[in-house]
């Protein structure tokens, strides 16, 4: 039978902040969002070490990197990024979010308390035009990875579909709860890039963003449309 994940739930327990940063009630309608999405192959061992046992890996093992520029939102412009592990949950395609970052304290708070991600504060540089896109993700210690999409080609939005992205949130009693978050972007315009690259500007061997390093880019897309930044819910 397919390989189940080997991660313990406790691996995803985080220390909740003593004070909860106030934020507008979810969901947030983010009218003008741009998402950069890259699927890439990774080695199976580090993926299995980070995948909870509810999930099974695929063959080959792959990750989904998502970086979203939310130009308009109830908390103003903000950006967030996730590193999702390609997997199956109850035989259905899914990604499990193993790492996430945002540059907004309010998005972070919403992520921690009601979603499961984003759950780390950092910095995201994001630049997208008609022909190319580029992003750099950094945490407090410095840059983690850089994505370059040099040649974009328009594609029919109906060709694209994204799976739900799930993660663990930590409850006040210290337990963890699996939260499912369905696709949040409504795709109005889309482009693909056939020569996207992921590079690692500085060595960070302790970070999942680099431990799950890209062995082969599968596909890359730039997507534009409204985003519904919503609450997570337990699996149904």
């Amino acid at each position: 039978m397919p390989d189940e994940g080997l991660a313990r739930h406790e691996q995803y327990r985080i220390a909740l902040p003593a004070e909860r940063v106030a934020y507008p009630a979810l969901p947030w309608q983010c009218a003008n969002a741009t998402m950069l999405n890259v699927y890439f192959e990774v080695r199976k061992a580090p993926l299995l070490e980070r995948l909870p046992p509810e999930f099974c890996r695929t063959s080959p093992a792959y990750c989904r990197l998502t970086i979203i520029d939310n130009a308009d939102s109830p908390v103003g412009p903000f950006r967030d990024a996730t590193l999702g592990l390609g997997s199956r949950l109850n035989m259905m395609p899914a990604v499990f979010v193993a790492a996430s970052i945002t540059d907004s304290a309010q998005a972070l708070s919403a992520g921690l308390w009601e979603r499961s991600y984003p759950n780390v504060l950092g910095k995201i540089e994001f630049d997208a035009s008609v022909g190319r896109a580029h992003a750099i993700i950094s945490d407090a210690k410095g840059p983690l990875l850089e994505v370059e999409m040099p040649q974009l080609q328009t594609i029919e939005p109906s060709r694209l579909a994204y799976d739900h992205a799930d993660g663990f949130r930590t409850l006040p009693d210290g337990k963890t709860e699996l939260m499912v978050i369905g696709p949040e972007m409504a795709i109005e315009r889309a482009a693909i890039c056939k020569n996207a690259t992921i590079t690692y500007p500085a060595e960070r061997p302790d970070s999942p963003w680099q431990i799950l390093d890209c062995r082969n880019v599968v596909s890359a897309q730039l997507v534009h449309g409204p985003r519904d930044f919503k609450k997570g819910h337990p699996p149904r």
């Binding site: 039978m1 695929t58 063959s59 199956r88 035989m91 395609p93 694209l160 056939k194 599968v218 596909s219």
Partner: protein
């Protein structure tokens, strides 16, 4: 209606040194029996790197062994991947012709282009180009088989004048097929005058539109080969049980595990947006567990009477051949698989023999033993 069996060579974990050997050897024994029992065809897939799901990367080698052990059953390459970066077209034509010779003219030649990132990505193939590649190759291969001096200057491969050898024994060449899992490919099969080899383990309802489009369009085809193969071959899952409960538990359980493994494949439709893969390649993942466990409508799993009833449904939608998976690795013990084949041949196949008056669905057949009542 004709019946066949097909093999993915699934090998479940945990693996030992013997796992693959056992899968291959048991398959050969089953094919020998199927030949003796009067099954019409055996097909084997070509897949690469699909852990557990399919360890069948050299079908022409396996099928040569099957041909050597059998006398009558037709030998199907189901399919040969027609992508030049994976298989040079001349090598495909050579291997197929050699298999036709070894089997004394029993080859059925299936073509296709692969549907997983696992395979296409490994060979560095652009998924957007696979349909065009397949189209070019299926036009070239019949010429390789029938011309003494073949020359090609295409978009995806080029060859100076050569005599591609050996030539197949079937005249003018073996029947050609294409793996069909989407409405588009059913139409393309018909336009090219080649057989529709259904590869989705679907229901008759799933096949209905594909078959009707195929039948309508092939009447006006421009054949890529020297003749039109207008047959439709559907794929399903078969277990002919001792009684309904045993059939559901044994056959249904194995089918479920096959689908569960299939759900973990990385289909191109899932992570590579492309105009070339409109059908969702890993659609099996979209089936609910409940749906699979209850067995899909039309699956020939059950008592002989139930199977006859289900196969009538296939007949009604215009399918004249059904090829079935009969096991998932060792999930069903080998002796039970052999017994299932024997029951199917004894009780089901005579009901569909040529010249036999067919009954409609819902009419009582005199096929086999009565199914026992369902337990409370």
């Amino acid at each position: 209606m004709k019946f066949g069996i097909f093999y993915e060579h699934s090998v479940q974990k945990p693996w030992t040194r013997q796992s693959e050997l056992r899968a291959y050897q048991q398959a050969l024994e089953q094919i020998e029996l199927a030949d003796e029992l009067g099954f019409d065809q055996v097909w084997e897939v070509e897949h690469h790197f699909l852990e557990e799901y399919s360890h069948s990367s050299a079908p022409e080698v396996f099928l040569a062994a099957a041909a050597a052990r059998t006398k009558r059953i037709r030998i199907g390459m189901g399919i040969s991947v027609c992508l030049p970066p994976m298989n040079h077209p001349a090598r495909i034509a050579e291997r197929a012709a050699a298999l036709d010779l070894i089997s004394n003219g029993r080859l059925e030649f299936g073509t296709g282009r692969s549907a997983t990132w696992t395979e296409v990505g490994a060979f560095g193939i652009d998924p957007d180009a696979t349909k065009e590649m397949w189209d070019e190759v299926v036009r070239a291969i019949p010429r390789m088989w029938t011309e003494d001096e073949f020359e090609w200057n295409g978009k995806y491969f080029k060859m100076p004048p050569r005599n591609v050898l050996p030539k197949p024994i079937q005249d003018p060449h073996p029947p050609m097929w294409v793996a069909v899992s989407s409405p588009e490919t059913a139409v393309q099969a018909a336009e090219r005058g080649i057989g529709m080899l259904g590869v989705t383990l679907g229901t008759p309802a799933d096949y209905k539109r594909l078959v009707s489009d195929y039948r309508r369009i092939i009447k006006h085809c421009d054949p890529v080969g020297k003749f039109v193969n207008n047959q439709v071959n559907a794929a399903s899952w078969m277990y002919c049980g001792e009684d309904e409960n045993e059939a559901r538990a044994v056959g249904g359980g194995a089918a479920f595990n096959f689908f569960r493994t299939a759900a973990h494949l990385v289909g191109l439709g899932g992570i590579y947006p492309s105009h070339a893969y409109t059908a969702h390649a890993n659609a099996t993942a979209l089936l609910s567990q409940a749906e699979i466990q209850s067995l899909r409508e039309g699956f020939p799993v059950g008592t002989p009477d139930q199977i006859i009833e289900n196969l009538r449904y296939w007949e009604e939608v215009g399918v004249e051949r059904v090829v079935c998976m009969i096991n998932f690795d060792q999930q069903i013990p080998h002796p039970k698989v052999l017994a299932s084949l024997e029951r199917f041949a004894k009780y089901v196949m005579p009901e569909f023999a040529e010249g036999k008056q067919t009954s409609k669905r819902g009419e009582k057949s005199k096929g086999g033993p009565e199914a026992p009542p369902m337990p409370a």
